[in-house]
Symmetry: C4
Subunit: 196 residues, 4 copies
């Protein structure tokens, strides 16, 4: 089975999940002037920006991973679907965080965000190792050292997301700063030092 | 007529229908704490997961089917559109089930879900047999035994969906368990024993 | 300029517009049982089905038209965008019709639906004739008789949509029956007698 | 890294952002007849049309730009994601403008619209110059004079958007007329004088 339709399907879901984030940015706030609403709504804008960036990073990683793979089987398709289900879920915890950043609900919101990110990481690691184990779905033209390097590169993301989720139990703001900071750090780091 | 635009159009609709499911997962619940909302909302999460998986399975089957087909005519395009209209309808009964899982509306919700799934099955069977009858749209490179095997494989899904819909008249929970269980069973089974 | 990105962009908008129609099918109806809601909501289901089919027909025609064209210029891209803006607008009059089918608002709803369809027809005719005039963007491999036949085939749709819009001023139900009937007639007719 | 998945991802986001604009066109207006609603809602229709056109123009420019580029690196992917985040944000200020065109909130709405457009322009200029500087990602087949001409053509848009945003501080209606007028002027001008 070829991978082109898998990539189109994945691209579409990444794109839709990112674009649906705007629906969480709300126009209506009863009892406040428009100027006040816009100023008051900065958690929505920040949450939009960070989650859009995070979905973008997932897409870049998916993209990078699929360049090494040239076939797919049923199990691989379903691992892909599980990953996409986590990505498409992200607008929900994003909205939770945006709405509750300044009230006591922020802990639950940050934990929900973290669990979604951790679940996505677990799916991505499973997705990749299913393809890479014994070079099951890896293209013949890809050098084994590239496969090994990619395998190593998938684990820090999982650890950071799981750790930040645990941190959210005690300090939701630290956890949220970790998610945003890691995303920004990743963008800068991989732009400067990435080799493709 | 080639099939590439048909596949892109179908992939987009599968992807959008799956991603729109998140809009049914609601943040707002007047008179409850955020923690309570998240705990209280498990039917929404379960409905999201099951319907996302079911749409993913439809996509895999559509994908698998289109690998055997290398042309399209007008009637085939419209059968495809009818199938996609059923898939794109699924977020509605999903929301019905999620909202009414714990009240008396669950029967109607399960029946609506079942009718949508049965309609999708009928469309898919029609779509496939239109293409396969007399090898009307089948690629020359595909062996007839593959076509016959695929034809046989389309019928159990139709029967299960129709049966579960009838079951929903008496026992909506059994019907919903059938939809979820069949989807999980299919994923595990076809991952272990699928040959592509 | 090649036409592949134009087609992907168009396919995506057709697919999204069709899938967004489900957002108009509402779960909530204060003061009615779920069973009553589902029975009461048939205009929403009918409007969903008819508009999904109509968007599907537009997609088929766009698809058919683009097979004859192998290049694009700026004006052609903008005519395409104007057509897509009309298609993407269709969920709004669809919701108007679904909500007001049984009250006095049906006239305005039918007129709005008709104006949108007429605008889409005008855009489509402009889009096609811009490409076809002097074979400006037509592929060399396409016979002129095919171009002439396609040109002729675009006009009845425009006339029917414009006529039904005028009819809506006096009899909105007749107009709505015309839109639905024409769509069904087109599907059956072109499936039976279409030659591609 | 090839650019095809970048283009599919971008096309999907342009298409979704444009299509989501229809969700801002509202059916409900308590205490008004349907006819009154439709007549009353013209700012929504105008905002829909203008923003759809503006997103279409961004898509055309992105399309045009990508024809000159035949590879991508990490930094380029993230600049693309930043641009798409601005485009996908546009439905929010569009809704602000549509809702507040006739009340005192119009100033804030126009400024928000302008800041989004200016941010998109800055991202687009960065995106292009990152690729063009030293012909980093430019295809070998593209003549340097084409690159230079495209570089020059990106600056007026940035200047107009920044200037209109400043104008919005004093005269929001002038600013909004500038955004709409520039879009229409661009469509007519590039259709008449564009050479691809």
């Amino acid at each position: 089975m070829e991978t082109s339709r898998l990539e189109i399907f994945a691209d579409a879901i990444f794109a839709i999940a990112a674009t649906l984030l705007i629906l969480d940015v709300s126009v209506h706030a009863p009892g406040a002037s428009l100027g006040g609403v816009v100023k008051h709504a900065w958690p929505q804008y920040a949450a939009y920006g960070v989650s859009f960036l995070i979905i973008g990073i997932w897409w870049v990683n998916h993209h990078h991973c699929m360049k090494l793979i040239d076939q797919a089987d049923r199990a691989f398709l379903f691992l892909n679907i599980a990953l996409l289900a986590c990505i498409a879920f992200l607008p929900f915890p994003t909205e939770l965080v945006a709405e509750h950043l300044r009230d006591s609900g922020v802990r639950t919101a940050a934990i929900t965000y973290g669990l979604t990110m951790t679940a996505a990481s677990i799916c991505f690691v499973s997705f990749w190792f299913y393809a890479a184990t014994g070079r099951r779905l890896i293209a013949n033209t890809v050098d084994q050292s590239v496969v090994t390097a990619f395998s190593r590169s998938t684990l820090p993301g999982l650890l950071i997301n799981a750790a930040a989720t645990v941190v959210a139990l005690w300090s939701p703001y630290t956890a949220l700063a970790l998610f945003a900071g890691t995303a920004l750090f990743y963008v800068v780091g991989s732009s400067l030092f990435g080799r493709d």
